[in-house]
């Protein structure tokens, strides 16, 4: 009976569990740090378990639709509502399920890592509460089938993220990073809200499926599209709207930075959901596809070239995060650019999209891992300055191994996961436009060069006197890094399994606008 109730309410539980966990954390924290830590890890484990079961359900039975407040979860359109689904509906298709899985895995790694990394700081009850709220924001964005609800979760995501960036204060520098993130997120959020108002004003609906079934691509729709596209691309850190990312990513606690990468990917998901599901073939897909491709190429190249001269390891990694986002934009942008041409879509468009989507989860794993290794180094040495570091390979061997795995993965070196997704992008994009593929490959080479520098600066060289007492990172931090490293390796060795099970269904779900609409409106 209990099992049945859980299975019928998985989308609600996916949000309710971390939300309850967040608000109960300060209360449980009064019983002691151990109880709170146990509670937060248990909550994150439960969230991951729900995400896994929900993903399995979506992959086996198709899109899961959950109507809040209805007599039955699949009662999307009440009889007396005039055909409009008036309630909040979660629509979890394979793309949404894929994102929940990615976010929950990184969330667990981050939670385990935080047990040590945040242990010296004050205000841990608030820290863990905000961390879980950030998870709620991300999961809500990727599960909801309602535009206004999407905006609400975007705001939860932004507010929790900004608070966590400023968490360590750090003589005001972290607060400055948090403030920048908060101001830009608020501006972006307001534009998203305005765009939603434009759509609501025209179509009397907030549900994505209903809007998608009615949208005409009127001038007002075009204005709404641009607002949604640019605001979400800014939140994803696309160049030239990326300026906040090094400021925020470098000043946030490292565990939080790893999760901020996933938070940015939730906005990237928003871009894809808007262009493919909300607008679909009504929009000028070639133009919008090329806009996304250009944003992607700029992000790739500017991100990596700005990373190379950096001296702060986290700022360097932040620029690489911008650069890697470019690959996702490029892959999915190519898919969008040929969306209206079934032949080209089959020939390379779908593979390009799959490569871009595969890169999302790969990036979440290896970039999360790299930020965690940077955090472990900061935890032990107290500096992020590459000019001051060196010789840590003698004392932090496991951290070095995890760093190597992450660095090789981000540089697209086989057999790690980054290579698999980049290969899919290179080959498919080459058929679309060879120059774009060449740029993508050059960016990978520069990424490798950049991480060779980081590796040498931190780990190589003789044991330096100032770090003679440095020891290996604490066990919980190693477990967090180990979890992500394991996935980086496994996804690299068995890429086709991941593509078959998770990526192909996600790409198909994104392309299949009709299927999304039918899952909510029942084929209406």
């Amino acid at each position: 009976m209990m099992q049945e109730i859980i299975l019928q309410n998985l989308p609600a539980l996916l949000l309710a569990v971390p939300m309850l966990g967040a608000f109960a954390t300060p209360l449980i924290g009064r019983a002691g740090g151990g109880a709170r830590n146990l509670w937060t890890v248990a909550v994150m484990l439960a969230t991951l378990a729900i995400a896994i079961v929900l993903t399995a359900q979506v992959l086996s039975s198709g899109t899961v639709v959950y109507t809040f407040g209805a007599g039955a979860a699949d009662l999307t359109v009440p009889a007396d509502s005039g055909g409009i689904p008036v309630r909040i509906i979660f629509t979890v298709d394979a793309m949404g399920a894929f994102m929940t899985l990615s976010a929950s895995i990184v969330g667990l790694g981050v939670m385990l890592y935080s047990l040590s990394s945040a242990s010296r700081s004050t205000g841990q009850n608030g820290y863990y509460a905000l961390l879980l709220l950030l998870v709620v924001g991300i999961l809500g964005m990727v599960c909801t089938g309602d535009m206004f609800n999407f905006f609400v979760f975007l705001e939860i995501n932004s507010l929790a993220g900004a608070a966590l960036v400023a968490y360590r204060v750090d003589k005001g520098v972290a607060v400055e990073g948090g403030l920048k993130y908060a101001v830009l997120s608020t501006l972006g959020g307001l534009l998203v809200l305005f765009a939603i108002a434009l759509l609501y004003g025209q179509y009397d609906a907030l549900n994505i499926a209903v809007l998608a079934s009615r949208i005409q691509f009127t001038p007002l729709d075009q204005i709404a599209l641009v607002m949604l596209l640019v605001a979400l691309a800014m939140k994803a850190g696309a160049v030239p709207m990326h300026f906040w990312t090094p400021d925020a990513y470098s000043m946030a606690p490292s565990a939080i930075t790893a999760l901020l990468v996933v938070a940015s990917q939730a906005s990237l998901y928003g871009v894809f959901r808007v262009v493919f599901t909300l607008y679909g073939l009504t929009l000028n897909y070639v133009t919008i596809g090329w806009i996304i491709i250009i944003l992607g190429v700029l992000s790739m190249f500017v991100g990596v070239t700005m990373a190379i001269p950096q001296k702060d390891v986290k700022r360097l990694m932040a620029y690489h995060a911008v650069s890697q986002t470019g690959y996702m934009l490029l892959g999915v942008g190519v898919g969008l650019a040929v969306l209206g041409n079934p032949q080209l879509l089959d020939s390379y468009g779908v593979i390009a999209m799959e490569g871009g989507i595969f890169h999302i989860i790969n990036h979440a794993m290896y970039k999360g891992l790299l930020f965690l290794t940077a955090g472990a180094i900061f935890y032990r040495t107290g500096t992020r300055n590459l000019n001051q570091l060196g010789g840590l390979g003698h004392s932090m061997k496991w951290t070095m191994v995890f760093f190597i795995i992450g660095a090789l993965a981000i540089a697209g070196i086989p057999p790690f996961n980054g290579f698999a997704s980049k290969l899919m992008i290179y080959e498919s994009v080459f058929l679309f436009n060879p120059l774009l593929a060449i740029i993508a490959m050059v960016v990978s080479i520069l990424t490798l060069a950049s991480f060779v520098k980081v590796f040498h600066s931190i780990f190589m060289g003789p044991r330096l006197p100032e770090y003679a007492e440095v020891r290996e990172a604490p066990t919980p931090m190693l477990i967090g890094m180990g979890l992500l490293s394991l996935l980086v390796v496994l996804f690299g060795i068995f890429p086709q399994e991941v593509v078959d099970i998770l990526i192909t269904p996600a790409a198909s779900a994104l392309i299949d606008q009709g299927g999304y609409i039918a899952s909510v409106l029942g084929g209406a």
């Binding site: 534009l191 058929l431 060289g461 060795i493």
Partner: protein
């Protein structure tokens, strides 16, 4: 069975298992060559101390190549590019907002013209 592990990329394929096997074979060959090498190496003896033509060995901290010294040639060669790109990253929030609004205005124009 190998097909199970082969990633299909549309126009090509990638088999990580074969790659790992080849890598391991190459590693074993390299190991065998290494084992055939000099065997009188002794850890912790005078052997491991660097010989610098009789000069005194500098402090360890002085011989470590710091990050700032790496890729100097690259950034120098790209000076023209960096001299334009780096100043754009002002760190001023007003500039961030202007870039954001500027991109939005540009995309408005492009989408409007294309429509």
């Amino acid at each position: 069975m190998l097909d199970t592990y082969t990633l299909q990329t549309g126009t090509g394929f990638w088999d990580p298992v074969v790659w790992i096997v080849v890598f391991l074979v190459a590693f074993l060959i390299a190991l065998a060559i290494w084992l055939l090498g000099e065997k009188d190496y002794r850890r912790g003896t005078q052997q491991v101390k660097p010989f610098l033509s009789g000069n005194v060995e500098p402090e360890k901290a002085d011989v470590h190549m710091r990050a700032g010294n790496l890729y100097w040639g690259f950034t120098e060669a790209m000076k023209g590019y960096y001299s334009r790109l780096v100043p754009l990253h002002t760190g001023v929030l007003n500039d961030y907002v202007l870039w954001f609004l500027g991109v939005m205005a540009l995309v408005f124009v492009i989408v409007g013209v294309a429509a």
